[in-house]
């Protein structure tokens, strides 16, 4: 049988853990036995102190293995402490529902923990129960926390309803976050989003502000939708836009 995401994370973390490998293995075993939640809290707190914050060293083969273990999962840019934290969560057993434990961790998390918690979203059990928690992360003003959900994370593509998806795209634009790292940008394009984005572009032009070319990725499939076609034609006539951008 092929590797699970937890298998891969364990291998990568242990490979980079040097003399802390034993501590990681032992802690994971303790946590998996479902003892007091404090064991998990302590591990999460000590992870960066013991392991440092270096980037995970991943080969192309590792990245392929990640995508095979969970379609769309991209651990590029993860740090070793973040990976260890997600690994601990995946190994943790508890008496409470995963979403309750997750909520508790999120409420008390520092920035790096928030980023790690949200990057792990596609890998957790019962993903549908984390809707509220994901909403809290999307509403965060900390750009890196928002991006932990929006970028290189297939959770949004796989679990967001259309309204949430559309607002994530809008927020990304609003906080000057890139759109291209969003997984599912083309698959999840929809007429309502195209309409909102065209309105948004018009607002930007009216204010004399630039509009990123990435915005048109979600608009292109609906170029000829009667709801937006007149506005797009007008924008081309006004010199804001070219037909090529929409092709």
């Amino acid at each position: 049988m092929s590797d699970t995401p937890a298998d891969l994370l364990r291998r990568w973390v242990l490979a980079q853990a040097d003399d802390q490998a034993e501590w990681v293995s032992q802690s994971l075993e303790t946590i998996s036995k479902g003892g007091p939640e404090k064991d998990l809290h302590v591990f999460l707190g000590l992870a960066p102190r013991r392991l440092g914050k270096a980037d995970l060293e991943l080969s192309d083969a590792d990245l392929k293995a990640a995508d095979a273990a969970h379609p769309g999962w991209t651990p590029a840019g993860w740090s070793i402490d973040g990976a260890a934290r997600v690994l601990a969560l995946l190994n943790s057993a508890g008496n409470r529902a995963f979403s309750d434990r997750f909520k508790d961790l999120r409420r008390t998390a520092d920035m790096a923990e928030l980023i790690a918690l949200y990057r792990g979203l596609p890998l957790y059990p019962d993903p549908e129960t984390l809707g509220f928690e994901v909403g809290e992360g999307l509403r965060s003003n900390i750009k890196a926390v928002f991006e932990a959900i929006a970028h290189q994370n297939p959770y949004a593509r796989d679990h967001f309803d259309e309204h949430r998806w559309n607002h994530m795209i809008l927020k990304a634009l609003f906080v000057d976050s890139q759109l291209s790292p969003i997984i599912g940008l083309e698959e999840r394009a929809n007429p309502e989003l195209a309409r909102i984005l065209v309105d948004y572009a018009q607002e930007r032009w009216a204010a004399g502000r630039p509009v990123t070319d990435e915005l048109w990725i979600s608009v292109r499939p609906f170029r000829n939708d009667p709801e937006i076609k007149p506005q797009l034609d007008q924008a081309i006539a006004d010199g804001h836009l070219t037909e090529e951008t929409l092709q």
Binding site: R49, A54, D55, G77, T108, A109, M111, L114, N141, I142
Partner: protein, 307 residues
């Protein structure tokens, strides 16, 4: 000159303060948990406050190229609300190991009540258990006795003075704090605490060993450039550069660095993950401009166009 402000309640300050501090050379600051000007009445609001200073406020500071650290603790004023205090004490260990938490603090006495004493001692115990430094808030009223008593209790509890920063000192308290082996903090805070001309006189008398200058800027009438202005005035008054560097930078780093959570590399050579996510870097460190002392908001006031 790189500066550290080891006592600044940035949660109460605006982005103008951050800009002015960064322009003046502040590369790092410490936000002690304290009360927020009025009492909290729910444990949950206190939890969210602690969560803000380990997360959101850190992010805000990072946007201006300032590394943000904090201390966590139950302050002396709110220790008098026993129900709240008990709840906060349950949550506190969860926050004490967060990234960038450099001490338990600010704790100590306000009115020197039995409840304040109880929670002061409990938190000293926690600091000892976690090998964290302690930031002690010394009381405004009955100050001299309250300061001595704070040190007595630290010693009774077996906390090493080298792990304790006695803050808000003045001319009357400093000799004892230094003599007993503590770090002595001075808050350059108009009217109620220290003035910077007085601070310069103290530096002439005591030199720079174990003395730490901070602004303690908060929601009251206070100055986020307290450290920068003191450094400038001290240099102009002939205090040796090395002394100024110690009291406005190095001593704070040495004292709070004992937590293992605050290192010079954090701002000189931050990890790649931090550079991508939470710390924009500092333009002065990037070889930019000379430090400038300007009033917060000065640039805003001089600029008519808002784009």
């Amino acid at each position: 000159m790189m500066l550290i402000d080891p006592h600044a309640h940035m949660i109460s300050r605006t982005t103008d303060d951050y800009q002015a501090m960064a322009a003046a050379g502040v590369v790092a600051l410490i936000e002690p948990a304290f009360w927020v000007g009025q009492p909290r009445t729910y444990v949950g609001t206190y939890v969210d406050y602690l969560s803000s200073i380990v997360g959101w406020e850190r992010f805000r500071a990072g946007q201006f190229g300032i590394r943000h650290y904090c201390t966590v603790g139950l302050n002396s004023k709110e220790a008098n609300n026993e129900e709240l205090a008990e709840g906060v004490m349950e949550w506190l260990p969860r926050f004490a190991l967060k990234e960038g938490v450099v001490a338990i603090g600010e704790i100590g006495y306000d009115e020197q009540t039995p409840l304040e004493d109880k929670y002061f001692r409990l938190q000293l115990e926690l600091a000892k258990e976690l090998h964290l430094p302690v930031m002690v808030h010394t009381p405004h009223r009955d100050k001299k006795r309250g300061t001595s008593r704070s040190m007595d209790v630290c010693e009774e509890m077996g906390v090493d003075p080298s792990m304790v920063i006695i803050d808000h000192n003045n001319e009357e308290t400093v000799a004892e704090a230094l003599q007993r082996g503590y770090w002595a903090g001075f808050s350059i805070y108009p009217s109620t605490k220290m003035g910077n001309a007085r601070m310069v006189e103290l530096l002439k008398q005591y030199g720079g060993e174990r003395i730490i200058v901070d602004s303690a800027c908060d929601w009251g009438i206070s100055d986020s450039l307290g450290v920068a202005k003191t450094a400038k005035l001290a240099l102009e008054s002939g205090i040796p550069q090395e002394t100024v560097r110690k009291v406005c930078y190095q001593n704070a780093l040495d004292a709070y660095g004992q937590s293992g959570q605050m290192k010079e590399e954090d701002w000189l050579n931050p990890p790649a993950i931090d550079q991508r996510t939470v710390y924009e870097g500092n333009s002065i460190l990037r070889g930019g401009r000379e430090p400038r002392i300007e009033a917060p908001g000065e640039r805003r006031a001089g600029q008519l166009l808002i784009e």
